[in-house]
């Protein structure tokens, strides 16, 4: 029981990282990207391959995972981000499937459907952080989440974040203000991919093995649900969303009803969450974060 809660919290953290990336892309720029599972897979495999085949230290594989994921983010982003929003969803969905296809078929590198096992555990200053001792791992993954939260929240309030929001509100107006729309979109994509790649690294270290079957479209949908449920454009909210979605995922096991509740229950619920939230509460549980008013030297005469 207690172990289960720890497990949920660990998965919350891993998925919160992906949701933070998705939030930058969907919440800030307003692009529907369905590819977090693809970047998640790339991050996982980078860590798995580098540490198993080449004997790299985990701490070196993390930046590599982020780098390679974001490289693929750039690769898929450059052609597709010129497209209108709706096409992007299909193109990115296709990308996620292609990644899984390649992982399944490139036997010499990825070992095909069997995946890669026996990934060495993380060690930090000689202390081994094993997934079997859940407390240590929990602290580790949440440190990652906090760092990502801090970085992305700062970033979203910077010039970049303002540009992204301008693009969401009105692309044409934004570009006439001198914002290079495609370039900023690609940046959002790269950053979102990088953080999903890091999430992938942690996932590989938590499971200690990677298989292509773990990176289905379902993962992208879960991440999307987290953002929609918590609230688009609010990084705290998507972390809350991540927790709720993970809690729902493990709810049948948590209450010991996993034989009674059909396995499709959670997927149906995720679908319902998307539909219901869109109709009744499109801003999510917490809603978009309100921008604090800039300090003014002079009082302005009312709202403009």
């Amino acid at each position: 029981m207690f172990n289960f809660i720890l497990l949920i919290l660990i998965y919350t953290a891993i998925f919160a990282l992906m949701a933070i990336g998705q939030n930058l892309i969907t919440g800030y720029v307003g692009l529907l990207s369905l590819t977090q599972a693809g970047f998640f897979a790339i991050g996982s495999y980078v860590t798995a391959i580098l540490s198993v085949t080449y004997g790299w230290n985990f701490w070196l594989t993390v930046p590599m995972a982020a780098l390679i994921s974001s490289f693929f983010g750039l690769l898929i982003g450059l052609p597709t981000l010129r497209l209108k929003g709706d096409y992007l969803a299909i193109a990115t969905l296709g990308f996620g499937e292609i990644v899984r296809n390649i992982l399944n078929n490139w036997d010499s590198l990825t070992n095909g459907p069997m995946g890669i096992q026996r990934i060495p555990m993380i060690s930090l200053f000689g202390i081994q952080i094993s997934p079997y001792k859940k407390w240590g791992f929990l602290v580790l993954v949440w440190i990652f989440v906090l760092v990502a939260y801090f970085l992305f929240d700062r970033l979203a309030k910077s010039r970049l974040g303002r540009a992204l929001e301008a693009i969401r509100e009105d692309e044409i107006a934004a570009s006439s203000m001198g914002i290079n729309v495609t370039r900023y979109k690609v940046w959002a994509f790269i950053l979102g991919a990088a953080v999903a790649g890091v999430a992938g690294s942690l996932q590989a270290e938590f499971i200690l093995s990677v298989t292509p079957g773990a990176f289905t479209f379902m993962v992208s949908i879960m991440v999307l649900c987290m953002v929609v449920l918590g609230g688009m454009g609010n990084f705290k909210a998507v972390i809350l969303g991540a927790f709720i979605i993970q809690f729902i995922s493990y709810f049948p096991q948590l209450v010991g009803l996993s034989n009674v509740i059909p396995p499709q229950f959670k997927q149906i619920l995720f679908g319902l969450i998307l539909v219901v939230m869109m109709i009744w509460r499109p801003q999510g549980i917490l809603g978009r974060e309100k921008r604090s008013a800039p300090r003014r030297l002079f009082r302005s005469g009312g709202d403009v």
Binding site: L83, G85, D86, A89, E97, N101, Q264, G271, M277
Partner: protein, 323 residues
Amino acid sequence: MTRGPPSVAEVYLIKEPIVGSIAEFFQHLMNGLTLGGIYALIALGYTMVYGILKFINFAHGDILMVGSYIGLFTFDAIRGQTMGPWTVIAFFIAMLAGMLFSAGLGMAIERIAYKPLRRATRLAPLLSAIGVSFILSNMAAWMWGTKSRKLDYPFDNSPIYLKGVSITPHQILILAVVIVMMVALKLFVDRSRIGKAMRATSLDQDTAKLMGIKADKIIAITFAIGSALAATAGFLIALEIKVYPSMGTMTGLKAFVAAVVGGIGNISGAMLGGILLGLLETFGVALLGIPYGLRDTIAFVALIIILLVKPEGLLGKAEKEKV
């Protein structure tokens, strides 16, 4: 999207590279046309909805799956023990049942999940549609099981050889149904009153309303027709592959690509795009030497290329973005 039973493309893609004989060429042509005809039927639903509402109905592939299941159940229920003329009639009755059910389902989905979002942001109906798609495929898995089912053939399916080209009766049936459906749809949209109203609504919804067209009703009819066509395609696919809950996903995505290639919102474009994609897949694997393992990527690469080179599609009109 799990690695399950084969998608319909795999039936018609021949892995071995061919030694360029004329017969083999026609063989691929025939296979490509059959596959393309199926894509075209599905693409019509995407394109009609997009033409009117300017959004991608992500659940379209899952409506196809439901239609396929309903058709299969009906056929199993009403067909007799032996093959004969009755089984062929029963086949068409089952197809009709699937179409009607899917049409109702499509209208219900529109009413519940999309209509409240007409005035919302662009993202909202898309997300809602993804939700619906997920609900449908998982409901199907829950109610009907994840195991794939096989449709009993309505008649003998031993291939006919025509100068070395093997053509199965199923292929002939598929092509015939596809052609009849397309001609009927084209006539309906071009000649009938409702078709005229559909065209008006897709051109300019507000003006159409001012002219006394009940736009909501037209949108519902569009969903019904698109869903019925998807169900037809789904039932035809059931002749060639098994029926399973996620069968609509990949086929649906490819059909969407076909709609974009032809020019989304354009009915003739969807037909052309579907046929072209079918041919591209069969010839891509057979002649261009695209590895069989990457067959599903062909459509997505085609999508990206067409969107970069001619974003309005082959038959679409370029739209200027207005401020």
